[in-house]
């Protein structure tokens, strides 16, 4: 079952309260998304750790219900 963009956003925001989340539906099919997650709490964390936090927020859906999520993480400028 594909996931809706606002559901992805909600999960990430719930897991990472200070995150600013932008979701793009890449193919317009409700199945291929890109997400950009910007959070102050990422500061000082290596990229792998930042992305792990997002994956944790998605609660095991990554690689399952969410097959195709292109993910970038950053800290605010």
């Amino acid at each position: 079952m594909p996931m809706a963009a606002d559901e992805i956003e909600r999960l990430i925001r719930t897991g990472i309260p200070d995150a600013r989340v932008e979701i793009t539906d890449l193919a317009g099919d409700g199945d291929h998304y890109s997400a950009r997650v910007v959070a102050e709490s990422f500061r000082g964390m290596p990229r792998v750790a930042q992305q792990r936090r997002v994956y944790e927020a998605l609660g095991g859906r990554m690689g399952g219900a969410l097959h195709a999520l292109q993910l970038t993480t950053a800290t605010p400028d």
């Binding site: 990229r47 792998v48 992305q51 792990r52 994956y55 095991g60 990554m62 690689g63 195709a68 292109q70 993910l71 970038t72």
Partner: protein, 108 residues
């Protein structure tokens, strides 16, 4: 250590640069794997690939091995570097080249 884990560890430790992916370098079976291959090709580095679609144990096991839920996964000199998004970010920032230089990985 499970059998799959031991097998993965052996692959990771015995190759300087190894990509666990869907499909082969010539015929990637997924857009993310294709992107990872094109980055490695650009860097001109020698690398091995493991097609997880050929081995269900490795396909599941690699996710536990690195505590990372997606494929592809890149390892350099025994260390997990990241998936295709991290590879792309690092490549664009010149950090992937830097990592390979620092670890003295041979050119292809």
């Amino acid at each position: 250590m499970s059998e799959a884990n031991a097998k993965i560890d052996e692959i990771v430790q015995s190759n300087d640069v190894v990509l666990f992916m869907k499909g082969s370098a010539l015929f990637p079976q997924c857009g993310f794997s294709a992107r990872a291959i094109s980055i490695l090709d650009h860097l001109g580095v020698g690398f091995e690939t493991v097609d997880v679609l050929q081995d269900p144990e490795i396909r599941q096991g690699i996710k536990a091995y690195s505590d990372w839920p997606t494929i592809p996964q890149l390892y350099v000199k025994g260390e997990f570097v990241g998936g295709s998004d991290i590879m792309m970010e690092m490549f664009e920032a010149g950090e992937l080249q830097q990592l390979l230089d620092e670890k003295q990985v041979a050119k292809a």
